[in-house]
Every structure is written in structure tokens, then in C-alpha cells.
């Protein structure tokens, strides 16, 4: 297992390097001049030229890239042109909000999607299966920005049972920081009032973000369970009178979710990307809005750091998925 992990991490490094090269080139070939952005609105062409020389923007692109790479290797991701702070500080402050929302959405997707998919398969071609299929097609087709606004209008504006925006009520202070995940931190520190408030606030964004992944997980689970139910050992165990619920929940499900687990790894990346829209509508202070601002303001150090960070998270989650594969399926573990 350890060898497998080392191999996977080593394989990720060239992927991240490639990602950095691609992003660096893309950011620098678009007609935005970072020197002009740094110089500000009143700068004369002479001052822009001086800044270009000072920051090395007048050097060949490949030299600039290796200078940047060296800085990154030393943990220096640079300073944001806009906020004036290290981009690591900016991102570090916002990342927990995005991770909390993504985990909540993924959690909803898994804890609802797997049972729903299993039930739909067990009740194949019956009413429940049709209903689940209808909703899963909808879940994949519905645009998240539309769903977000509809949920806001219904639950926050009409029924007035959930808040409209933000991570906490404005008058409530954040819990003492341990991880930056409000739900976790408030629970650990015994601040149940904050926990309850944070739970209320995350409900609508998490449902919105999870809708697409819930549909995908449900469909993959349904297909997997349906296929496994056709296997001879299942028919044999059914014939000998094994209880149906035990057979499905213990034996069938474990052999059916390998494809679902792979999907969860892929969905994590989609959820991170999807959070940009959801964060904007629910005014969620995560990295999505930071990325959009960085792009709009040509804050190229922030763009590069963001891209690398998302790449690292995505790679880490996929390694984790591979490990879970091994846990679920001993045949995979043997090949590790």
C-alpha cells in the first residue's frame, strides 16, 4: 500500500507541473499586462516599463516561469496585486468555506444517492424506480444558478425557514478557529448555537451544489446494483432464502459501488468548479468568488495559486479514491 501511495504521489507531480505550465502560459498570453495592473491607473508608460523591469516581466517567458517555479518550490506564491496580501493568506482564509460546502454537498450526494440508487435497483421498473429516474435526469439537467434562486425564493423568501446568504448570521461571531470548518469547529468547542446557525446557512447551498452529484451517484449505484443482482451468487443466495435486505446491503452493495466511488472522485472536482456559481448566489465567502475576482482584475499570482491548489486537492482526492477502491475490493488491493 505504501509503495502504491508513493507511486501515485510521484505520478501526480508531473501532472501538477503540466498544469502549472499550461496555466502560466494561458495567463500570460492573454492581452493583460500585469505590470500595468501593478502600476495602477495613473502610471505613465515610463513607470510601467520600470515595473516591468523590476518584476522581470521583460524577461523571456521561460525564464519568468522558472523564476516562478523556484518561488513556488520555496512556498512563496507571491502577493495579490489587489488585496496587497500574500495569496496564500487570501486563499487560506477562504478555502475552509469552500471545502466545508463541498464536503457537505458530497456528503448529501453519497448519503442520499447510494440508498436511493440501491432502492431504485431493487424496485427495478416499479414506481419508485421511475420516480428516482425522473429526478436524477432532472438533477443532471437543471442549472445550479436556476435551482439556487428557486430554493432561495421558496425557503428563504416565501417560507422564511432558512437564511438567504452567508455562512453565519451577520450578528454572530465565527467559532474559535481550529480547522476553519464552522460546523466542525463549533461542535468541538461546544458552541451549539453557532453550529445550529451554520447548519441553517449551509443547507440551501449544499442542496444546490449536491443536486447534480446526487443524481450521478444515484444513477451509478442503480446500474451497479442492477448488474450485481444478476450475478449467480446473488441468485443462489436468494434461492437458499438469504434475507433480501441483508443480501443487498452487505453483499450486493459492496460489489456494486466500485464505479460509484470512482465517480465520487471525479465529482469532487466538478463540485469545486460548480461552487463558483453557488458561492456567488449564496454569497458564500469561498475560493470561487476569489478566483472570479482574480480573473477580472488580472491578479495573475492569485490565478496561478488557485489553479495549482485546485489541482492538488483534485489529485489528493483521486488518490484517496484509489485507496478506498482497495478497501472495498481486495482484488484491487492485491494489485496495489
Amino acid at each position: 500500500m505504501l509503495r502504491f501511495l508513493v507511486r501515485r504521489v510521484l505520478l501526480v507531480l508531473p501532472v501538477l507541473f503540466g498544469l502549472l505550465v499550461l496555466t502560466f502560459i494561458l495567463v500570460r498570453i492573454v492581452p493583460n499586462d500585469p505590470s500595468a495592473a501593478l502600476a495602477g491607473q495613473n502610471a505613465t508608460p515610463q513607470q510601467i516599463t520600470e515595473i516591468r523591469a523590476k518584476y522581470g516581466f521583460d524577461r523571456p517567458l521561460i525564464i519568468q516561469f522558472f523564476v516562478y517555479l523556484k518561488q513556488v518550490a520555496q512556498g512563496d506564491f507571491g502577493t495579490s496585486i489587489q488585496s496587497g496580501r500574500p495569496v496564500v493568506t487570501d486563499i487560506g482564509q477562504r478555502l475552509p468555506a469552500t471545502l466545508e460546502l463541498t464536503f457537505a454537498a458530497l456528503g448529501l450526494g453519497v448519503f442520499l444517492g447510494v440508498p436511493l440508487g440501491t432502492l431504485a435497483a431493487v424496485r427495478h421498473n416499479r414506481m419508485l424506480d421511475h420516480v428516482v429516474r425522473f429526478f436524477t435526469v432532472g438533477g443532471i439537467a437543471i442549472a445550479s444558478f436556476w435551482l439556487a434562486i428557486m430554493l432561495q425564493l421558496l425557503f428563504a423568501m416565501q417560507l422564511d425557514v432558512l437564511p438567504l446568504r452567508g455562512r453565519l448570521s451577520a450578528i454572530m461571531d465565527a467559532p474559535p478557529t481550529i480547522t476553519g470548518l464552522y460546523l466542525f469547529d463549533s461542535l468541538v468547542t461546544g458552541r451549539f448555537d453557532i453550529f445550529w446557525n451554520a447548519l441553517h446557512h449551509i443547507t440551501l447551498p449544499a442542496i444546490t451544489l449536491s443536486f447534480g452529484s446526487l443524481a450521478t451517484i444515484t444513477r451509478f449505484t442503480r446500474s451497479g446494483v442492477l448488474e450485481t443482482l444478476q450475478k449467480e451468487y446473488v441468485q443462489y443466495e436468494t434461492a437458499v432464502g438469504y434475507p433480501r435486505w441483508l443480501l443487498v446491503s452487505v453483499y450486493v452493495l459492496r460489489n456494486s459501488v466500485v464505479a460509484t466511488v470512482t465517480q465520487i472522485g471525479l465529482l469532487f472536482g466538478a463540485l469545486l468548479a460548480g461552487s463558483i456559481v453557488v458561492e456567488a448566489i449564496y454569497d458564500w465567502p469561498g475560493i470561487g468568488s476569489y478566483a472570479v475576482l482574480a480573473i477580472f482584475t488580472s491578479d495573475y499570482k492569485a490565478i496561478l495559486a488557485m489553479t495549482l491548489l485546485v489541482g492538488v486537492i483534485y489529485a489528493a482526492v483521486n488518490i484517496l479514491v484509489d485507496v478506498i477502491h482497495g478497501v472495498i475490493d481486495p482484488r484491487v488491493a492485491e494489485q496495489m
Binding site: P31, N32, D33, A36, A37, A39, G40, Q41, N42, A43, T44, P45, Q47, I48, T79, S80, Q82, S83, G84, R85, D90, Q93, R94, I149, Q152, L153, A156, M157, D160, P163, L164, R165, G166, S169, A170, I171, D173, A174, A280, I281, Y282, D283, P285, S289, V292, L293, F296, T297, S298
Partner: protein
């Protein structure tokens, strides 16, 4: 006995936990856009006025509508007869929020910092050509100008005063303390930044400075804590206002939301005529825009009536000249251009006959984050198509466009923006937009050049008498309109949704009513 012990214990606990009749803090949630950082010298735009007006003070300050200059940190000023030396007397006993004394040296330091950073706030002072700023004594600040500059007093509020003593320990290399001041405060203003929960362009908390020099006698129930939350989505911002999650929205409330908010009992729509003109710029240095007939053709082809009446639902006032209609110096007898495609066609024909390449593709840049600029672009594009002109719309951002305007060859064919009330003098609009000495700045990005206009504008800024300046600006404006240097569309009516529980909101075109010290909650 046992019961009494419990009572004593409970009372002691209540006192220890502060459960007694303590003063409840009033908290307001501010839902306007936040600036990119909170350094008052790094930015000079509408969002940054929230910091400049509330966290910092200036020598003189604009108040009201129409905005009038009031003595602020300075109690008076004197100007030499030749208009080249200006002395400001500071009030006695001024302090920063930290408790440090505020002296003339801090004003000198602040001026030097603004000029060294050379960001937007430096612009007006560069135009004034200031030779030196000195502090002859602890209460006197002296500005020595290279030449008389009539708008000088009007630009003085642009300079916000920072505490040198507080910034100095945080200076790194040549950053002038920007790395620290971008997320902390070092001012004397009515509020201070609470850096603990600050997330740039997302959330910022301000706490009241009870020691502010102006005192709080004017406001018996001032707001103690202001929690500013930058909500990017208009729909969310408006809904949050209706639901009571925020107390005040931004000053760019879309006109299609006005009727909806007016139906809500808990919300008041503040409607104030401002001094923010909407302008479609034309790069006069690039063919075919170097042809005056072509520029006139473009000026006749914009549908002002439909844009203001239908898209903006008449929440704007037609403003056909290069300065706000409600400002002195506005040329009363200038009619400007009306929407008339026949006249446009005739002017384009003349331009074509003179060899102007009017059939080339014209690129019109609009600001991605500001819907109204896109709407204006689309309306213009469809009308220009009717007279055979090929316009493509380009999505762009403010930093890109202002950077591109540094050179005539990189400046866009056309771009759309507003010119806000940074300071109240025709110099802020017509002076810095059409005097050719400002070519290379975003304000002068049409690269218009007319020797007669240069002469008029330069004379106007050198003469102290307002009557004569009015005549000169009016004459210059007539010429610029005649030359169709740009397309001036409207003067803004600022719309802002405010919760009915917020009292004391005071609007001024400088800062859009962002000054918190007037407000209280009911």
C-alpha cells in the same frame, strides 16, 4: 439560608458573565461593494470612499448635495494672492484612533505617501503640479504650487491622513507599508477597521471610534459596529434587503428592481441626483474616429431616449455635454446630439467621401461586471447596423481598459464608463478629460486634441474667479461637443435600497452617501 446562598451565587455569576443591564451594541449590516483593499492611498474609486470617509479624515470634506466644502481636520485656510501658496491650520488636540497625536507632519507624510504610491489618488495632485508640502509648525500645513491652480481647494479632500507612527514599523522594503495597511487601519476617522475577520472584497467589520474629533453629539444613537458584506449577486443583495439580512444595499441598484423594493414596507429607495456621467469614449487618434464627421455620425446614432426611458426607466437625466448638468460651468445653451439615423447616415457619408475607413470593424469594449455598459453597447450595435456600420462588442475589465488607455495605439476604438465625482470642479470632468496634457491617463483616453480647447481649459484652471472660469469652461464645452469628441449620455440618479430602520442617511455625490457617522438604527 440555603436559598439565599443560591441567590447570591446566581447574582455573582450574572455580574461575572456581564448579564447585567449592559449597553447593547447597535450593529448594522452594510451590503455595498467593498474595495480591493483598505489602504486609503492605494485606490480612489466609489467602493474605497467607504474607507476614506469613515476610517480616515481629510483637511476639508464634502458634505451634502450639492456638495459643499466644510473645514474638517483643518479649521481654516489662507491662500496667497498669487494663488501659489496655501496654508491650512489644523484644529488643536487632534488624535488618531490609536491615541497618537495627529500633527501637520502626518499630513505631509500622507501627501508624500500618496505621491510615492502613485495610484489613482495621486492623479489630482499631479495635475495641480505641487512643488512642495511642508509643516512650518505642528498645526500648519503649507502647499506650494508651481503655478496658480484654481481647483486646488476642491482636490484637498482627496488627501486622507494616515498615522506615520503606526505605519512605520510595518514598512517592508519599498512597499510604504501597503502590505500591512491593506488590511489594517491607521486613521483618525469615526470608525476603525477590525482586522480579525477581514476578508478582502468579502467581509469587513468596522468599530466606532468614540474619540473622533467631531464628537458624536450630532447622533445620540450612533452605530457601534458595522458589518460590511460584499454581495456580488444583485438578486441576492435585493432579496437580503427585503428579508432584513442586510440594512443597506449598493448605490447601483438596477432600475428594474426599484418598483419591487418600493412595494416593500421595510425598505426605502433613496433616489438622489448625482454627478456621475455616463460616457461612450471614442479614440480620436484612430481612423475613422480621427474624422469629425464620423464622430458626429456616431453621436447621432445612439438612441438616448430609449436607453434612458426604456432600459433605465427614466432613472437618469440626459446630459449631452462633458460635465454634469447640475455643476457650475455647464454650458446652458448646448443642445448636443439627438438620436437621428438620417443625420448619422449623412455625416457618415461625408466621412466616407473624405476617405475615412468607416467600413472597418469597430470594437466597442464594455465592462463585464456592469450590465448597463453591455446594454448600452448592444443597443448601439443594433442601431449602427442599420446604417451599415460593423461594431463588435468586447467584454473587458476596468483594470485592463485603464491599462490599455496608456497609449493611443492600445486604447480601444470605443469603451464605456462613468466619470464619478472624485472632486467637485469642472476640472474633474472636462478639464482632465479633454486637455491634451493628460493624454495617457484613462480619463483622457479619447486622445482628443484641439489647441483652442487646451488654451481655454488651461486658462480656466489658472484663474481664481469662478465667473470667468464658468465662461471659459462653457466655451470649451461647446467646442468639444461641436467636435463630438465622445458620446455623453446621461447624469446618474443614484438609487440605493435602505432598510426603513436606518435613519440619518445623508447623500453626497462624493462618496454616494457612504458616511456612517450620520446614521442610526431604530
Amino acid at each position: 439560608m440555603r436559598t439565599r446562598s443560591w441567590l447570591v451565587l446566581a447574582l455573582a455569576l450574572a455580574v461575572a458573565l456581564g448579564a447585567g443591564p449592559a449597553h447593547a451594541q447597535s450593529v448594522m449590516v452594510w451590503g455595498d461593494n467593498l474595495p480591493a483593499n483598505v489602504d486609503p492611498h492605494a485606490l480612489y474609486d466609489v467602493p474605497s470612499s467607504f474607507i476614506q470617509l469613515n476610517v480616515y479624515d481629510n483637511l476639508y470634506r464634502y458634505e451634502g448635495n450639492p456638495p459643499l466644502l466644510k473645514p474638517w481636520l483643518a479649521e481654516s485656510y489662507t491662500a496667497s494672492k498669487d494663488g501659489k501658496t496655501w496654508e491650512f491650520k489644523l484644529r488643536k488636540g487632534l488624535t488618531f484612533a490609536s491615541g497618537d497625536p495627529l500633527a501637520a507632519e502626518d499630513v505631509v507624510y500622507s501627501y508624500k505617501r500618496v505621491m510615492s504610491m502613485n495610484k489613482a489618488a495621486a492623479g489630482p495632485f499631479k495635475a495641480a503640479k505641487i512643488a512642495s508640502v511642508t509643516a512650518p509648525d505642528a498645526n500648519t500645513v503649507r502647499f506650494a504650487l508651481e503655478a496658480p491652480y484654481a481647483p486646488f481647494l476642491s482636490i484637498v479632500p482627496v488627501l486622507t491622513v494616515v498615522n506615520k507612527k503606526q505605519i512605520d514599523p510595518h514598512v517592508k522594503g519599498d512597499d510604504l507599508g501597503f502590505g500591512w495597511l491593506s488590511s489594517n487601519s491607521a486613521g483618525s476617522g469615526a470608525y476603525v477597521v477590525d482586522p480579525s475577520g477581514y476578508i478582502p472584497q468579502k467581509q469587513l467589520d468596522l468599530k466606532r471610534n468614540p474619540q473622533h474629533f467631531a464628537g458624536w453629539g450630532h447622533n445620540p444613537k450612533p452605530i457601534d459596529v458595522v458589518k460590511a458584506r460584499d454581495i456580488a449577486e444583485t438578486a441576492t443583495r435585493v432579496n437580503a434587503l427585503i428579508k432584513g439580512e442586510i440594512d443597506i444595499g449598493d448605490s447601483y441598484l438596477p432600475t428594474d428592481q426599484v418598483a419591487r423594493l418600493q412595494k416593500e414596507k421595510g425598505v426605502v429607495v433613496q433616489r438622489n441626483e448625482s454627478m456621475r456621467i455616463f460616457v461612450i469614449r471614442m479614440n480620436n487618434s484612430k481612423p475613422p474616429f480621427d474624422n469629425v464627421n464620423f464622430r458626429r455620425c456616431m453621436s447621432y446614432a445612439f438612441n438616448y431616449g430609449d436607453f434612458i426611458g426604456v432600459i433605465l426607466k427614466n432613472f437618469a437625466e440626459r446630459n449631452p455635454a462633458p460635465m454634469p448638468k447640475n455643476l457650475w460651468g455647464y454650458p446652458k445653451d448646448v443642445k448636443g446630439y439627438d438620436f437621428d439615423l438620417k443625420k448619422a447616415q449623412a455625416e457618415c457619408d461625408k466621412a466616407k467621401a473624405a476617405g475615412a475607413p468607416i467600413n472597418r470593424e469597430i470594437k466597442l469594449h464594455y465592462q463585464a461586471q456592469l450590465d448597463q455598459t453591455r446594454q448600452a453597447g448592444q443597443l448601439f450595435q443594433s442601431d449602427l447596423k442599420k446604417i451599415g456600420l460593423n461594431v463588435s462588442l468586447v467584454t473587458d475589465t476596468w483594470p485592463n481598459m485603464t491599462a490599455a488607455t496608456a497609449k493611443p495605439e492600445t486604447s480601444p476604438d470605443m469603451w464605456i464608463h462613468w466619470v464619478s465625482a472624485y472632486f467637485i470642479d469642472p476640472e474633474n470632468w472636462i478639464g482632465t478629460m479633454y486637455d491634451s496634457q493628460f493624454h495617457g491617463t484613462w480619463k483622457a483616453s479619447s486622445y482628443y486634441k484641439n489647441a483652442k480647447v487646451d488654451e481655454l481649459l488651461r486658462a480656466a484652471r489658472a484663474i481664481p474667479e469662478q465667473k470667468e472660469r464658468t465662461r471659459l469652461y462653457a466655451e470649451a464645452a461647446k467646442q468639444i461637443v461641436e467636435d463630438a469628441a465622445d458620446i455623453w449620455v446621461y447624469n446618474t440618479v443614484e438609487l440605493r435600497g435602505v432598510s426603513a430602520r436606518v435613519k440619518g442617511f445623508k447623500f453626497s455625490p462624493v462618496g454616494s452617501g457612504n458616511e456612517l457617522r450620520w446614521m442610526h438604527l431604530e
